[in-house]
């Protein structure tokens, strides 16, 4: 235990001393200042309801990517949004309520979009008109997707062309609608109408996580730690270590664990600072964001053994870091090829498909782990409906057991090979 703490302390000192980590800290400081400069203005419920009803539409997705077309009403409905009144006879206890009188300008046009919304799209001319109930359901479903938690619709006539709509939510930050997002302490005002404030907060968090866990972060961390073993194996350095009463395998494992724990600490501190500054500005403290340090560290823990193995073989720090980065990049490329480009479309059924499958299984699931981290973040930060909307924006990820399991096997293989080689060598 004392030996492990000594190696942990050494890894921490190494991290503090490396210029690349100083750069990372500076970038993290910039990110924290940026987060502190953000201002969030929640959407006005009445304006949001009016905007939603006026833009009754259906986005039709094509393929696995987010390409699609938007099916909108050709004739604008008349929407009269207002504050609730006593005669509206609404249930008690609703938060952030908005009501509107909604007049459909063209029933055929409305029904066409509504059918698409409910998945009952068919020939335009031959389809039977929707009932008033179906029209109300279409509006309710549409509004729930925009973040309203409670939607009440009443038909004012038999056809359902004139409707009363009341909507409310407990989570105003998850309400899609018109609101303002200010950057740089109010210097830039960004009007937003397609994302909720909660989604923007999560997107900022994901961007920070991608920055730190993505190429830049991994570059910095692997440059800082990739040379650990080559430095340790320099003539005169290793003698001082191996002359201690500690076995070679244990020395390597402790060195690995020390580096991984240091990265966890560094990223947790950076994420923590960002979470606090974002929380102070948005009023929404996201401790789950601090936990995003875990997937970031998991990615590092998966590719660091590559640097260790190359370091033991070549005794060259830069080679070790570059090899680990290449592995990280290759894993992303393989995952992208498998899920988005080659897999479903171009070479389906050819010999490339099983080759890609095999490659995917043996490479670390760095992209999937990042996606799983984002999912975990969304799950803890958003309501069930909000999370469902958020989930649809993310690429499909392997299940956690597969992603983490195969990644752990990858790391264990390289770590094992490193230990085997290190134990057999004369120094």
């Amino acid at each position: 235990m004392i030996a492990f703490l000594a190696l942990l302390g050494d890894a921490w000192r190494r991290a503090r001393d490396r210029r690349s980590v100083v750069v990372l800290r500076f970038v993290a400081l910039l990110v924290a200042v940026f987060c502190a400069s953000l201002e969030f203005t929640n959407p006005d419920p009445r304006e949001s309801l009016k905007s939603h009803l006026e833009n009754f539409c259906q986005r039709i997705r094509h393929g696995p990517a987010s390409f699609g077309i938007i099916l909108k009403l050709r004739r604008m409905p008349r929407v009269d949004a207002r504050a609730p009144a006593a005669e509206d006879d609404l249930p008690l206890g609703l938060d952030h309520v908005a009501v509107a009188d909604f007049e459909i300008a063209d029933l055929d046009d409305f029904d066409h979009v509504a059918r698409a919304l409910s998945g009952r799209s068919g020939p335009w001319r031959d389809a039977a008109p929707l009932t008033a109930r179906q029209r109300m359901d279409a509006i309710s479903g549409f509004l729930r997707e925009r973040g309203w938690e409670t939607v009440i619709t009443r038909a004012r006539d038999d056809s359902g062309a004139s409707l009363f709509v009341a909507a409310s939510t407990d989570h105003l930050a998850e309400l899609e609608g018109k609101w303002h997002f200010k950057l740089f302490f109010g210097a830039a005002d960004v009007p937003i109408d397609s994302m909720t404030p909660a989604e923007v907060v999560i997107d900022v968090q994901r961007t920070v996580a991608r920055l730190l866990a993505g190429v830049f972060g991994m570059l910095v961390l692997l440059m800082a730690f990739g040379s650990t073993l080559p430095d340790l194996m320099q003539k005169g350095s290793l003698d001082l270590l191996l002359a201690r009463p500690i076995g070679r395998a244990r020395l390597l494992l402790f060195t690995y664990a020390g580096a991984v724990l240091t990265v966890l600490l560094v990223t947790a501190v950076i994420y923590g600072v960002c979470a606090v500054t974002l929380g102070l500005r948005s009023g929404h403290f996201s401790w789950a964001f601090v936990a995003s340090a875990l997937p970031t560290t998991a990615v590092f823990a998966a590719v660091f053994p590559v640097a260790m193995l190359v370091g033991v073989v070549t005794r060259h720090g830069n080679f070790a870091a570059v090899a680990a980065l290449a592995c990280y990049g290759a894993a992303d490329v393989v995952a992208a090829l498998r899920t988005q480009i080659v897999g479903p479309t171009l070479v389906n059924g050819s010999m490339w498909k099983p080759a890609l499958e095999i490659l995917w299984w043996i490479t670390p699931k760095t992209g999937e782990i990042a996606t799983l981290g984002a999912l975990s973040l969304g799950r803890s930060e958003l309501s069930a409906a909000g999370f469902e909307r958020f989930r649809q924006q993310l690429p499909a990820a392997a299940d956690a057991a597969t992603a983490y399991g195969t990644t752990a096997l990858f790391a264990a293989f390289f770590l094992g090979a490193t230990i085997l080689l290190f134990r057999r060598r004369d120094f």
Partner: protein, 328 residues
Amino acid sequence: MDPVTDAAGAASAIAVADVHKTFRGGVHALRGVTLDVPPGEIFGLLGRNGAGKTTLVKILLDLVRPTRGATRLLGVPSRLPKSRRDVGYLPEDHRFPDYHTAESALRFYGGLSGLGGARLRERAGEVLGRFGLAEARRRKIRGFSKGMKQRLGLAQAFLAEPRLLFLDEPTDGVDPVGRAQIRGQLEELKRRGHTIFLNSHLLSEVEQLCDRVAILDQGTLVRCGTIAELTSAGARFAVAAADPIPAAVVAELGALAASVQATADGVEVELNDEAGIDAVVDLLRARGVRLRELTRRRHSLEQVFLSSLRDAPPGAPPGITPPKGPAP
């Protein structure tokens, strides 16, 4: 049977039994080295560059694996990490991670040796003070001079108060005052019963410090013994007189000695038996020669070392038996 598991090996601080090492490429670094260092001794290992000294030390510390043979430290096979539990090591050309301060480096290496807490702090403070680094304790090593790094190397080797110390060129880069201090530290350790294995090219240092010395040449142990044994020149004496010794007296001495040689201040006699020196002194006094000094002649360690090498350079002293094979 493992040659180092016998009773003698178990009682030794260092036991080496028939160790061979052939590196990849066919380089024979060690050829059947066998030696034994009892506890409490300062043992010096001499040899030219490439003789195999460092390889032997590395095998003892399990940095290099022997091709054949076995070694033990303090009775424990040196393949096992626990054999190094009570061992300190100062490698030649050691290199500390330069992001450490003197103090944090000692905490790091002390931790790896199993020292921790208040004991580690206390020991680190003590050795830093002992080696003159107390004021530089919080300075980064990258700003240290060569001498300071060497003293820090010694500090880390002494840190855990090991029973067995391996020192490779311990005074390299240290000024004369520092060297004297280091010698004092080593003598103090010896008095306290610690065993020290010294690799040094400074023969004068080895001669001053070591109880026993071994000489390695081309991977073979060619000599091993106490300083007195190695430097002994037999029954050879120098007699200094107050006045020049008459030639007739010198001729008379020829009857008592195997050889007699007049010198600037007297004569040098080589006897068949050292007891014969009494007869020499009696004769000189009987002839009225006023004696000033009688000394037993010894070879210097350098002479012994040079003459021990298989391809001894010109100038190696005559009369020292050249090596014929591995020493026991």
